[in-house]
Symmetry: C3
Subunit: 179 residues, 3 copies
């Protein structure tokens, strides 16, 4: 198994096994070490209505927190959707067909319409399926931050999956934490 470290102090070789750890000198007023104090930031983003289906929203999210991200050498970014009929997931960022096929899959395994077995139907035939899909993919993501940027794989992107027929604005709480 290969191991490499990221988020290291400058001038430290990339392949060392030891991790970057901010030294425990915060409590020592006599220390001259420059330790970055842990930082927190939190921001609420309202995405415009998106039609039913899976949408790549990486650039929309990054645009809103690029400046703040740039202040974190090492940390974590949390995205939390305030809704129970949409979801957040990480998946392929290039071919639109992947998002379309994922919507096809979700519609194939969650029954919808007159023959569906749902008791909760007051909010429309697409509502109960939307709740189920929301729990299948989840409403939250946590992504590492390294060197001021979201540290995702080459082909990874952030998706918002809208599960309702009549789209509405969707609220995402972004919380950043790191050094």
């Amino acid at each position: 198994m290969q191991v490499s470290s990221i988020c290291l102090p400058a001038k430290v070789p990339v392949r060392v096994k030891s991790l970057h750890t901010n030294p425990a000198t915060v409590n020592d007023p006599t220390s001259t070490a420059k330790v970055a104090a842990p930082k927190w930031a939190q921001k609420t983003i309202t995405l415009p209505p998106l039609k039913r289906g899976c949408h790549l929203i990486t650039s929309k999210i990054v645009k809103e927190v690029r400046q703040e991200l740039s202040e974190y050498q090492c940390g974590l970014a949390h995205l939390f959707l305030h809704h129970t009929s949409a979801s957040l997931t990480i998946n392929e960022n290039y071919d639109y067909d992947v998002r379309d096929d994922t919507e096809t899959f979700l519609n194939g395994i969650v029954p919808e319409g007159p023959s569906a077995p749902w008791k909760h139907t007051l909010e429309g035939p697409d509502d109960m399926p939307a709740h189920i899909k929301s729990s299948m993919f989840g409403c939250a993501l946590m992504i590492p931050i390294s060197n001021g940027k979201l540290n995702m794989g080459t082909w990874q992107g952030i998706w918002l999956c809208e599960h309702r027929d009549y789209p509405t604005p969707r609220t995402v709480v972004v919380t950043l934490n790191g050094i």
Copy 2:
């Protein structure tokens, strides 16, 4: 896209785009700034046995950590279930039918009983389906904390989904981190 900030220091207008960030003055013993130091808390909660199905447990969880939550202006709350045959998810907090329909969905897509294709059957016919459902919904949640409370959407609640026929107490490790 609308953006608003939450978790801001007092007297900062709500609509400013800049995030709340605790200043990096922790290392400066001459600073007079009142910086809230990052805090950690961790607590193990044992939930009583709940029958097979989906259960709203928001109030049970909040009751156990309300006091501690109130000390965090900005942060994250992590819930981690210690089991592989139950799950935690966030979904609708009002209509009981949504929880019932979700249980119906899970039972519909995960085969159970003599015709199911499972090799792992020693612990009963409901055990292997329970493991699968646990990975489908997951055993952990991360929820933002803002102004001393869990920052969830109006209709969101925390669900414990019990996938076994004979319920047992379930352990949840709650970890709070923030300022």
Copy 3:
């Protein structure tokens, strides 16, 4: 509901309800309290190719971060897979059949082959199913750290689920944060 605290300072009885919280004395240079400053560490691990199916990788992960974990009394460990055709999940750590049955389940609900409805087929018949399975189980985990170790339940383990036919090395970014 039973409640117990973990991750407490030494000599504090185990059953007290109050949580462990690191005192807010970091900003007070006159304080003599020994406060552990919040620490961050981040490491990239490359797992060797694993055949299609579910694999228990707890020991592989722990081996790479055991030393660093030992420095955290209380915290969170985040694992983030850099791929969209594999997934990370937490499930049963003992019987191999559970992992095999889970692979059987995934193959049963995600259509694959000539009759599958996918538009995205250029990368092979197993590629689009792999993307869907990746979003079903997710590409990230967050696990509490208590007393220098991952705080999982007795039967819980970390699984890497490889959804492609021709396995490749898989990259996991591990981020540790705590005190």
